[in-house]
């Protein structure tokens, strides 16, 4: 049965994870992600799953590797400083081709950073050392926080790749409507060809994170890049609003910036201006085809993001050939409001 609840974004992630079949969670608390972990601690036992609050992020991500190696649906979550500590483990997950869903509720700045809203983890979320790529999903409302964990597991198991759900603290910490379905049946994935399930009666499965043999190393690199090309072909996801009538200005934004930009675009449409919004849902693979389509006749493209232009540089690097205006050009300590975004757009009209 479907029903609606008011959920905190971080709680919606936990509920969505359990609904998607996640039965293992290992993590370490950090603002603004802690309520995700706390809610997992509450609801995981009811789902007969395992929850462990580890002694550190380094321990947590290694516990995640253990569960992932067995083919289990496992999640963890953190914020920027913890994501820094996750990197070694994420590298190993890539080396082994283990599926996992990682949540990053971003905070601002380097080091321990600020507790302000931010979109500054874009670069570190889409990439991992050794030319590796994480699939990255960017929720913009509470419903996405509930729905995306299932998509994340589908992609993680389809490609045997880490998937990051990257959100900002406005969505993570605020409450909103979520439609839930208590009869939802998540996909059970066939892991029999690779999972470390005990080798009794079959050939043992070997998984290594070390590639000293040059032929093996080359083969691995080609396999990985081939996998990313497949993702780019099949998994680009995005939404376009008011982009069907060749708008003069198209705003490109994700997360809370897409939310506020949508409000700005809607207000300007009501005043008769031809403006549109393009919202990437996957940040890797980036939905370049839909971006090119949405902006093909636009006079101006405005990238609105709370960083010094990480997404902007990414689309440029992927060959986006239109001039792009970046706003606000840095990460301010509060989210630019609808009025501010309207003013940026009007400057271009």
């Amino acid at each position: 049965m479907k029903y609606t609840k008011l959920l905190k974004g971080n709680h919606a992630l936990a509920e969505g994870g359990i609904a998607a079949g996640c039965r293992y969670f290992f993590g370490y608390p950090i603002t603004p992600q802690s309520e995700f972990l706390e809610h997992m601690a509450e609801i995981m036992p009811e789902a007969n799953g395992e929850f462990v609050q580890a002694e550190s992020e380094v321990a947590a991500i290694n516990m995640v590797i253990g569960a992932a190696s067995c083919g289990a649906k496992v999640m963890t979550g953190t914020s920027g400083p913890g994501f820094d500590l996750f990197h070694e483990g994420i590298g190993n997950l890539h080396a082994h081709d283990f599926p996992v869903v990682i949540v990053d509720i971003m905070r601002g700045g380097p080091g321990n950073g600020s507790l302000h809203p931010s979109q500054q983890d874009y670069d570190v979320c889409i990439k991992s050392r050794g030319d590796m790529k994480n699939i990255v999903l960017a929720p913009w409302n509470h419903q996405d926080m509930y729905d995306l964990p299932n998509l994340a597991f589908e992609l993680a198991f389809k490609y045997r790749n880490p998937v990051v759900i990257m959100a900002d603290n406005v969505i993570g910490q605020s409450y909103g409507n979520v439609v839930m379905d208590d009869e939802f049946k998540p996909t059970e994935f066939d892991t029999s060809s690779w999972a470390m399930s005990g080798a009794k009666g079959r050939e043992r499965h070997l998984s290594i994170a070390h590639f000293p043999d040059p032929n093996v190393a080359n083969e691995m690199q080609h396999y990985k890049q081939g996998k990313y090309a497949e993702m780019a072909k099949n998994e680009q996801r995005s939404e376009s609003y008011y982009c069907d009538d060749d708008p003069e200005v198209v705003v490109v934004a994700y997360g809370i910036m897409a939310r506020n930009s949508y409000a700005a675009v809607k207000a300007l449409r009501e005043q008769g201006y031809k403006v549109g919004l393009f919202r990437p849902v996957t940040l890797f693979p980036y939905p370049m085809d839909a971006l090119n389509e949405a902006t093909k006749n636009a006079k101006h493209v405005l990238v609105a993001e709370m960083s010094a232009g990480q997404m902007c540089a990414d689309i440029k690097g992927r060959g986006f050939d239109k001039d792009v205006v970046l706003k606000p050009g840095f990460c301010p300590s509060s989210v630019p409001g609808t009025g501010e975004i309207e003013a940026w757009i009007k400057e271009l009209l």
């Binding site: 910490q173 949508y262 409000a263």
Partner: protein, 179 residues
């Protein structure tokens, strides 16, 4: 129709419960809502606040540029958020513990409600937040009394019928006070 309210008070005054109660009441009416709490250093003592939006359509953004009503539960919150009251908006003040309210020359409606005193008379001073909620829903019609009653009953649960009743009584008393 969209209702946007900023609620300020100090930790322990039930500001978050007041905010989420309004939002859940909206969902009980099959409408849409968001509630954005202030977070960060302010969570530890000092002022607590949240912004609630109730709407017949999906809420555009949980962090709006402006609200149409402000509820302040104490004097520090009055000082901090009085500037957020818009022209022709409503300011609901917990006058039991907020004394220095500027009333002359303002371009918005001030509704002074002695929330603590009314709640104390009803025997549950902790329900002062619901007195303010009652005043707010009576003045604006943002959500119905019935939806709030259902929310409080679900929230406190069958185990605490006395708490449910005292909160609903406080809600009704707040409504009556501003009628």
């Amino acid at each position: 129709m969209e209702y946007k309210v900023l609620i300020g008070g100090s930790g322990g005054q039930g500001v978050m419960l007041l905010g989420t109660m309004l939002a859940i009441a909206a969902i009980n009416e099959e409408r849409e809502a968001t509630c954005l709490p202030a977070y960060g250093p302010e969570m530890r003592g000092g002022t607590a606040n949240c912004t609630v939006i109730v709407s017949d359509e999906p809420v555009l953004t949980p962090s709006p540029d402006a609200v149409d009503a402000v509820i302040v539960m104490n004097e520090p919150s009055y000082s901090k958020f009085v500037g957020d009251v818009p022209e022709n908006g409503i300011l609901i003040v917990n006058s039991s513990i907020t004394n220095n309210v500027v009333e002359e020359g303002v371009n918005y409606e001030i509704v002074k409600v002695p929330c603590n005193d009314i709640a104390a008379e009803l025997g549950n001073v902790r329900a002062a937040n619901m007195v303010a909620a009652g005043a707010y829903i009576q003045k604006t019609g943002a959500v119905s009394l019935e939806a709030c009653e259902k929310t409080l009953t679900d929230y406190f649960g069958a185990k605490k019928p006395g708490v449910v009743k005292s909160n609903i009584d406080a809600l009704k008393a707040g409504m009556d006070y501003v009628k």
